[in-house]
Subunit: 198 residues, 2 copies
Amino acid sequence: MATSVLFMSMSVDGYIAAPNDRPDNPGGDDFIRLHEWGLTPDGQDFRTSGPAGELMAEVGSTGAVVAGRRTVEQVDHWGGDHHGRGVPIFVPSHRPPGPTVVNYPLVTYVSDGIVSAMEQAKAAAGGRDVLVQGAYTARRAIEAGVLDEIQIHLVPVLFGGGRRLFDVLPSRVELEVLRVVDTPEATHLRYRVTDKGA
Amino acid sequence: MATSVLFMSMSVDGYIAAPNDRPDNPGGDDFIRLHEWGLTPDGQDFRTSGPAGELMAEVGSTGAVVAGRRTVEQVDHWGGDHHGRGVPIFVPSHRPPGPTVVNYPLVTYVSDGIVSAMEQAKAAAGGRDVLVQGAYTARRAIEAGVLDEIQIHLVPVLFGGGRRLFDVLPSRVELEVLRVVDTPEATHLRYRVTDKGA
């Protein structure tokens, strides 16, 4: 069975986007600060070696994506292919998709909720992990008990404002530390969600 | 020169107290979850060995305390002695202290701000570190450029609500990872504040 894993880069104060996050400024002002750990020093390419390269490879090896509508619309669905491997992208949303989606055969809008979206993604992932992205989607997946693991790339900066990964949840959720990768650029924290609620 | 170090236990979603945090329920409902890492399995004593014991010893070796008024009033000034070593406690507050403080010769209320409180604490610390506690006080110290280091005990739980350590700051603040101690009970993250603003 596929494992669903939230992959998010987060500041120490819990933000995943800076102030002024919108489609013409996705991630907000100087949001790249949260993603430098995964880039080569010139900022032009993803790292392919070292601990950060191995973590980026984990993203690349996922077999399907579940991402929130806000996330996908900020980047127009990554041009239809999240990490260049042709894996399907599922977007839970009650509203019909926007006009560009007709151009993206890998993108499926799922109107009947996060549980259905995750089921479809797991079935499509071919035994590989399902990559989950987006703060709202993460919270709904946690609440619904369909998020299996959380990979946080904790970046040594206080953003001081912006959009939070975790905000308010209806109840406490226990985690288990699976792995800590300690690098100067980020502390990479992998958790299992051990307590999926009722 | 003494180093000021914020020591706080925090959930992965950024909370340092659970809902219903008040003097008759300090830390909120089942707040002890955030502090179990420092306690013996029976919950009766602080750990004195292993990585957690070493981290607790760092608290015990500090030479002065700066703590926020809300924090100290929740626990009535720890009975006048924070960690049983007779070190002075400085409380930045514009209002006069409450009635119990007359009983606590180690407790000094400082009415002229966080910078003054930190200066007095560093002078009193005898070259040892200054322990900083409290979310509001932490934010004011960061803003004023008088917080040198941050020690977060990141506990693998999502509280889902409560009081946050970091909320909104006036600007971005860069940190440097000094040390990561990886244990099943908590990920202990030590940062230097490298960018103290204007």
